[in-house]
């Protein structure tokens, strides 16, 4: 084979092959297995240890629509985990593009599980200032957020009467495509000893491993792979708790199947992920062989 030609391969051909590697497994699923990783299991366990109807999990939706393919399935899975175990949730956003996503996810899952706004969950909305907001909440959440997302004064919300600062929050999960989990560790973790877990895009996952080793993070969900693992854990939990059985009985077959698909959105993408990775590995190998062969010939 002409190696010169191989080195000058039209990049559009690579794009096409990657597109095909993604599309085909979505059309014809293979069902490759998902292995559970410890950081995801630890996150799941941390959420699971929160007592039902007790102090809430704080879920910070700190990402924009560009990160939705990876982080939105995580958001849905965590909310499903909480609501299926009757764990209350306090949702907020420190990212300016996050409030719409947070509301969409929270209202959708709350409706699915019949949860009441203000009692089972509260949506605080967005507040700019990152570190300043995190620090302020350590003193008084009511001072950081005067109203919730729907402009209701915080003091009038039943669930918020017992929640004042991080002493009343057993766990914070920050879902972010940027460095916002670091701010949570810096200000809420170091200053107020708040327990923190993070859900991040795969790009930044490697950055956060050192914080797992030092227990500054109790758990980490990384990228679509992490989301699919969490999804799997929640689906198994719902089966154990009988939530799935109840849902099957109360919904029509079509509705139930549709819901099942939406509950496995991240897992459905994992076949495409694996095949696309194989294609990329093949290109890396071919590219390197061609490069070194060319270099040797030049010598």
């Amino acid at each position: 084979m002409n190696l010169e030609k191989l080195m000058r391969i039209d990049r559009r051909l690579i794009f096409l092959l990657i597109a095909l590697a993604v599309i085909f497994p979505l059309l014809f699923p293979i069902g490759l297995p998902t292995h559970l990783s410890k950081p995801v299991q630890d996150t799941f366990n941390a959420v699971d240890s929160i007592p039902p109807d007790g102090p809430p999990l704080m879920l910070s939706i700190d990402y924009d629509p560009a990160a939705m393919p990876e982080l939105y399935p995580m958001t849905l899975a965590i909310l499903r985990h909480c609501f299926s175990r009757n764990i209350r949730v306090l949702v907020l956003s420190l990212h300016r593009a996050g409030p719409g996503i947070g509301e969409m996810a929270t209202t959708r899952i709350a409706k699915e599980y019949g949860k009441k706004e203000g009692e089972d969950y509260v949506y605080l909305g967005f507040k700019p200032g990152f570190g300043a907001v995190i620090l302020r909440m350590g003193e008084d959440i009511h001072g950081a957020f005067l109203t919730d997302y729907y402009n209701r004064p915080i003091g009038e919300i039943p669930m918020m009467r017992e929640i004042h600062n991080y002493d009343d929050i057993p766990l914070v999960i920050c879902l972010s495509a940027a460095a916002i989990p670091e701010l949570w560790m810096m200000y809420a973790g170091s200053r107020y000893h708040q327990t923190i877990a993070a859900g991040v895009t795969a790009v930044s996952a490697a950055d956060y491993y050192p914080f797992l080793q030092t227990d500054q993070l109790v758990g980490l969900i990384g990228g679509l792979k992490g989301a699919s693992e969490y999804e799997k854990l929640v689906n198994e939990l719902e089966e154990r708790l009988g939530v799935d059985k109840k849902r099957k009985e109360s919904l029509s077959k079509e509705e139930y199947e549709k819901l099942q698909v939406s509950h496995s959105k991240a897992s459905a993408g994992m076949d495409s992920q694996s095949i696309a990775h194989l294609v990329i590995i093949a290109f890396i190998v071919i590219g390197n062989v061609a490069y070194f062969a060319q270099r040797r010939r030049k010598r």
């Binding site: 993604v22 979505l26 170091s190 500054q216 990228g223 679509l224 459905a268 696309a276």
Partner: protein, 221 residues
């Protein structure tokens, strides 16, 4: 095939295709989508900041509740606009100075705590542990071997990488050797990071393809 009847889904799908058309080459469809995105995001953020910060945290407390202290941050914010008047543009530096000062004051002790002291403590592990050695001898596997060499590898990696970022001496002799090992550790780290990013980029593509094939075209569930 079950095409979506929702015009917003159609709009989103067409804009997705416009942006992806850049993969072929720059074209008017990409440009139109790009300009729309830039304009839309600027407008969106203006509204978001007004309704979530300026109005509830400045306008309401100052004008409706008479909290006069809000004048100070309000003025500091307004000073930024002085840049439009060249003669008094220097006033905006006060706001910048305040912003930098507060930011540094907040983050320096927190960074020292989170990034340096805690991480130093995390690195101060026994270089050699009899316990992990026993586990490896009794049950030689990849996992037990990993546990055995993991900590020494981390310690060597930290020390050598630190030496690469030492700028006060030429990298010769012992320092040169250590920094060369350090760069190997850095490159392995970058490789892991690169792999993760490939995964992330594919995930983004999967998300868009799922949207196009499911929400728009209805060819998959």
């Amino acid at each position: 095939m079950n095409l979506s009847p929702d015009p917003w889904v159609w709009l989103a799908a067409l804009l997705t295709l416009c942006i992806y058309s850049f993969l072929y080459k720059d074209n008017p469809f990409y440009k139109a989508a790009e300009h729309l995105f830039v304009g839309l995001s600027a407008g969106y953020f203006l509204v978001i900041y007004w309704y979530n910060a300026v109005y509830p945290d400045m306008v309401v407390p100052l004008f409706k509740q008479g909290k006069l202290l809000c004048i100070i941050p309000g003025l500091l914010g307004l000073f930024f606009f002085f840049r439009f008047i060249p003669k008094v543009g220097w006033v905006s530096r006060w706001s910048i100075a305040f912003y930098i000062g507060v930011g540094a004051g907040m983050s320096i002790p927190a960074t020292m705590q989170m990034r340096i002291l805690e991480q130093m403590k995390g690195t101060m592990q026994p270089f050699f542990s009899l316990e992990t050695w026993h586990v490896f001898v009794e049950n030689p596997s990849l996992a037990s071997f990993g546990a055995l060499i993991g900590i020494p590898l981390m310690i060597v990696g930290v020390m050598c990488t630190l030496s690469y970022f030492f700028f006060s001496r030429e990298h010769k002799g012992v320092l040169g050797g250590m920094s060369r090992i350090g760069i190997i550790f850095l490159m392995i780290g970058f490789g892991a990071s690169f792999g993760y990013t490939v995964m992330a980029r594919i995930s983004l593509l999967i998300g868009r393809v799922q949207f196009l094939m499911s929400d728009w075209l209805g060819v998959i569930d």
